[in-house]
């Protein structure tokens, strides 16, 4: 690990100031020479591996604004401060009751120790765990633009089948983000230019020709809060995560599902897919097929086929297409059978 300057600001505005005045140039935040750190479960790992080499770290754990650490349950929304730890949100009784999907997506992620450290703001910005991205001895367009993609023709069992490009097939491995995109969350952002609120669905960018640019954020911008609207589908919601082992593994496929039912018929469905796409993945077309339908296994299968219609398999990850479909079918049926 290289030496770096370590800053400990006490307010969001001073954190943004430091990031603004450091010479960040035009780099995307992940390549900027100044970076924010909260739980550090992802960034510290990548710094040790030489994947991230910031010259300056701005530690957010010293920020004093109380809202950053609060979970507020309102009538029509749940609002999470960005420094709330994953375990705090997962264990919150109101979150569990009002929107099981949110709690489950956190509970099934990482390990107990990691959930105790990792912040929600950092969690949604976690970078891919692509094996070829993680090790600097391989070419990687995301890590080193233009160097090529070793995963494309390499060992790509973990890789994405949706949202891929000719430059990158790295999967987005987070779980919480699937809940957020399904539920139509927004993020509050603060930066040099002021404050803004962004739909969570617009936060992440597909790789396209620039897989090194992962989000809509500028290098001086900080997520301060995440807001999840509460809606008729919130309580009938769940996260199904399928993985090689029972705990502490990334999703091979996952499905975030929330349903608003009118008897046996679907009034509205919310669906996101994890483990199979390059970014948090809302399956809007699949949602549309369910509208007004009786949710039986056939309808669930039809929706799953639509969700994966554009999937592009590589040598080792073709199984993710049938697995992703079956995961969605199972999640839809299990969510249907929940008490609304």
């Amino acid at each position: 690990m290289r030496p770096f300057v370590y800053e400990r600001p006490t307010s969001v505005s001073s954190a943004v100031d430091i990031a603004t005045h450091a010479d960040t140039g035009q780099s995307p935040p992940t390549a900027a020479n100044t970076q924010f750190i909260a739980g550090g479960t992802n960034l510290a790992d990548y710094m040790r591996l030489g994947v991230a080499q910031p010259e300056r770290l701005i530690d957010l754990n010293t920020l004093v604004e109380p809202a950053l650490r609060q979970i507020r349950i309102e009538d029509d929304a749940i609002r999470f401060g960005a420094l709330v730890r994953m375990s705090e949100a997962a264990d919150n009784g109101d979150v569990r009751r009002r929107c099981p999907l949110l709690a489950e997506s956190l509970q099934f992620a990482a390990s107990g120790q990691l959930r105790n450290m990792a912040s929600l703001g950092g969690n949604v910005l976690q970078r891919t765990r692509c094996e070829y991205f993680r090790e600097t001895s391989w070419p990687c367009n995301k890590r080193e633009p233009g160097s090529g993609c070793a995963a494309m023709e390499g060992f790509n069992r973990q890789h994405a089948v949706l949202g891929t490009s000719d430059a990158c097939i790295a999967a987005y491995h987070g779980d919480f983000a699937q809940a957020l995109i399904a539920l139509g969350a927004t993020v509050d952002i603060e930066g040099q230019q002021g404050r803004r609120t962004l739909a969570f669905a617009k936060l992440h960018r597909r790789p396209g020709e620039t897989p090194n640019i992962e989000t809509d954020l500028a290098a001086d911008e900080l997520i301060t809060a995440i807001e999840v609207p509460l809606a008729p589908w919130s309580s009938r919601s769940r996260y199904l995560k399928i993985r090689d082992r029972e705990s502490y593994a990334f999703a091979l496929a996952s499905a975030a599902v929330a349903l608003d039912m009118d008897g046996e018929r679907v009034r509205s469905a919310r669906i996101a897919l994890g483990g199979v796409a390059t970014v948090p993945w809302r399956a809007s077309a699949a949602e549309d097929t369910l509208k007004g339908k009786v949710l039986d296994e056939a309808a669930a299968r039809a929706a799953a086929d639509v969700a994966f219609a554009d999937a592009k398999p590589r040598e080792h990850n073709a199984f993710k297409i049938p697995l992703g479909k079956r995961t969605l079918v199972r999640a839809l049926l299990e969510t249907r059978d929940m008490k609304g």
Partner: protein, 759 residues
């Protein structure tokens, strides 16, 4: 008694608590990289990112400019040392800094030494190697591999086992199967990382490094560095996960020693998790073709087992598990053949039950297929083929309790509740499957020395250069001394893991309990003889019981007449304060030079199939239940039951722990564990614990271990069969059988993953 401390049955010792348990759980046990030493400098390895070619140039200017960098050891710097040797003490013949040739991905190209670990690591990342690279051959079908017969290339496989006329029996068999199986590359990932700390005092070298073979390493390191072995000391008091990974010494040890000599300071090098995948040994990738032919009555008439194993270009590492599979059942005829496939890979090495894990997996998965083909219950199929004698040379088994193991395990498991029809058992959305398989491990023993000192207060010190690799051998040696000398376990201290102690063999092959206990027993008996002679001598406190049989109990010498004398009184009569005996144990059938070879770090192994009078194996039977989701097809293992018979059990607590750990590893081998290789580059891609999966607590639900009583006086004086490597043999086949039972899909390539079960 509780689940962790099973009540001892016949010929089983008490579940004595590990004597070092408190030290370990309170963090007071010092592992080799924990040892503090003054003025230590830190080393970081630089490893290759190609698998085949040559290093044309190392660009080191940026690294040298990092503040705190003291030295960079690279090609040329080892020229005055001998290259490593491949064998039981040496992991590979490749001397990475003796030669600019790259033989495999992750080969050491330099060692950077700096004032701090951080500086060394940073400088290591700044060294850039220019290569003349060549297309590598990664594995079995890769272009450019060299295939050769394995037999005779290594002591692990002198010849291919065969018996009878296989071809004729195969041609005539009424029912037959002919299938291929495979097991993947697997890497050791002990939580204690690999490390070397080298300290010179004049021409005396001390190495602190986790080792399963301190005597062998002392001799081999002295050879490499051209030192008198008396000037080399290897210290390894505790080991955090060994399983063969710390058995053979790797090239790093000498490189770190040379670095320490050059800078005139101690050097510590802890190898990163990623670099351990290239610099340490691993379980070889294997493939198998199994042919089983039988009559309609289920009696096997023909058994054929062909194996292929990947190894490095220069070294003939042989897995060679056919010697066990060829002796497992009462085959009418046997044909085996093992081939080595030389590729651009590091030399493989030992990993818990190295031959049996892959080879018995293939056999047992095939046995289940054959039972299906015969329409026979798989337990019954094994019962029918239970041999009187082993089929290759017709020798008897010194003891064999396999059927007892099947009976006890199947009853505890509830096998009778299994509906044999495939896919017939369900629990809601979960398909239920049940399977079983045989575990086997050869019982070996090797020469061993030990020193035992008893003082008048009843305190005992046991010294033996064996290794506490987590098995509990230190506790078991204490139990043996406590039993023979009639004192409480709290009176015993045991010193191990230091090459200055009486030599013990490598802690491998599950020989330690038998070898160490036999030596400790012999030393204790020599102490007893001295005490008895003095106690019953003319001036002794038991002079009146001169002809009576004597024993030791409760800190006294006890005569069968009922009279006894306190130890202090016997010592008084002898006018001594301590009795110390040094004993050398050599197994039956040892060569005349067996003991001198022990001191030279080349212990002879005896037992298994190699003895003249009988073959010696421990057996077990394992039963597994799997649950597979009908939609998403993930496999879960809610319970596993294993029954094992292994002669005298010294300590039911440590025995259960070993067998339970083995079965858990077996579940990992069945469902999780594999090192993935990028075939284009012959490079490993999942080099960390995030992507190299082993079971976590949530994967392991109910694990039941049954210790089946067995008495075997033939194996060794202690009557002990090693069981450290028995538990993970067969497990993966039991899981594969259960998966078949649940789904009708026969998976022959490990690990079994969702990929294989979904469509």
């Amino acid at each position: 008694m509780n689940q962790a401390a099973p009540a001892p049955k016949d010929n089983q010792g008490d579940p004595v608590v590990r004597i070092d348990a408190r030290l370990k759980v309170t963090g007071q046990a010092s592992y080799p990289a924990d040892i503090t030493t003054a003025n230590v400098a830190y080393g970081a390895l630089v490893t290759s990112s190609i698998a085949r070619g040559k290093v044309s140039k190392l660009q080191m200017d940026d690294a040298k400019a990092v503040p705190g960098v003291l030295e960079i050891v690279t090609h040329g710097d080892m020229d005055n040392t001998h290259k490593p040797k491949f064998g039981n003490t040496g992991a590979s013949s490749i001397g990475p800094l003796h030669d600019k040739t790259i033989f495999y991905d992750g080969q050491i190209v330099a060692l950077v030494v700096a004032e701090t670990f951080e500086a060394a690591e940073e400088a290591a990342t700044l060294i850039h190697a220019d290569y003349e690279d060549e297309p590598p051959s990664a594995t079995f079908e890769s272009k450019g591999v060299k295939v050769e017969p394995a037999a005779g290339k290594s002591p692990m496989l002198k010849e291919d086992a065969k018996a009878g006329d296989f071809d004729a029996a195969w041609a005539e068999a009424a029912v037959k199967i002919d299938e291929k199986y495979s097991t993947p590359t697997q890497h050791h990932n002990p939580i204690e990382l690999f490390s070397t700390t080298a300290i010179w005092q004049g021409d005396q070298l001390t190495i602190h490094e986790p080792s399963q073979n301190v005597t062998g390493w002392k001799v081999e390191l002295a050879r490499q560095l051209k030192l008198d072995p008396a000037n080399v000391r290897i210290i390894s008091p505790y080991i955090g996960g060994a399983f063969g990974s710390k058995g053979p010494m790797t090239a790093r040890t000498a490189i770190v020693a040379i670095a320490a000599r050059r800078i005139g300071r101690p050097v510590r090098c802890v190898v990163s998790r990623i670099q351990a995948f290239g610099t340490q040994t691993y379980r070889a990738e294997t493939r198998h073709r199994i042919r089983i032919g039988a009559g309609k009555d289920g009696r096997i008439t023909a058994f054929g087992h062909e194996g292929w194993e990947v190894t490095s270009r220069p070294d003939p590492y042989v897995v060679g598990g056919t010697s066990a599979t060829a002796r497992m059942y009462n085959y009418g005829s046997v044909l085996t053949h093992v081939s080595l496939v030389h590729a651009d890979r590091n030399t493989p090495g030992y990993m818990r039950s190295p031959p049996e894990t892959p080879y018995v997996y293939a056999l047992e998965n095939a046995m289940d297929e054959m039972a299906v083909a015969l329409g026979m219950d798989p337990v019954e199929f094994r019962r029918i083929n239970e041999p009187e004698k082993e089929p290759i040379e017709g020798k008897p088994f010194s003891s064999r309790s396999l059927i007892k193991c099947y009976d006890q395990a199947s009853e505890a498991f509830g096998w009778s509740r299994r509906d044999p029809k495939v896919g017939s058992m369900r629990d809601g959305d979960w398909l239920v499957g049940m399977g079983c398989a045989t575990a086997i491990y050869p019982t070996a023993v090797a020469p061993c020395a030990a020193r035992v000192r008893l003082t008048a207060d009843g305190a005992v010190r046991v010294q033996c250069g064996s290794h506490e690799i987590g098995t509990g051998v230190r506790t078991i040696a204490a139990q043996m001394a406590a039993e023979r000398l009639g004192v409480g376990i709290e009176k015993i201290s045991v010193e191990m893991g230091d090459s200055t102690l009486p030599p013990a063999p490598v802690s491998g092959g599950s020989i330690s309990t038998a070898s160490v206990c036999s030596a400790v027993m012999k030393a204790c008996d020599a102490v007893r003889d001295k005490l008895f002679a003095a106690a019953a001598g003319n001036d002794g406190p038991l002079a009146s019981s001169a002809n009576a049989k004597l024993d030791m109990a409760d800190g006294k010498v006890v005569a069968e007449t009922g009279k006894s004398a306190k130890l202090a009184d016997v010592f008084k009569a002898m006018r001594v304060g301590a009795i110390e005996e040094y004993a050398e144990f050599a197994p039956k059938g040892s060569s005349p030079e067996a003991l001198s070879k022990l001191y030279a770090g080349q212990p002879e192994f005896h037992g298994g199939e190699g003895d003249k009078d009988s073959v010696k194996y421990a057996f077990g039977a394992e039963f597994v239940e799997v649950r597979i989701n009908r939609y998403t097809r993930e496999v879960r293992v809610p319970r596993i039951v294993g029954a094992f018979a292994a002669g005298r059990i010294m300590n039911t607590r440590t025995a259960r722990s070993q067998l339970m750990g083995g079965m858990i590893w077996g579940i990992g081998q069945a469902l999780h564990e594999a090192t993935e290789i990028d075939r284009r580059h012959a490079r490993y891609v999942n080099r960390d614990l995030q992507d190299y999966l082993v079971p976590v607590n949530a994967d392991i639900k109910q694990v039941d271990v049954i210790l089946v009583p067995e008495v075997d006086h033939e194996v060794n004086p202690a009557g002990v069969k090693g069981l450290g490597e028995l538990g993970n043999v067969g497990t993966a086949a039991a899981v594969a059988s259960a998966v078949y039972h649940a789904t009708g899909k026969r998976i022959r390539d490990l690990p079994i993953r969702i990929d294989d079960l979904i469509d």
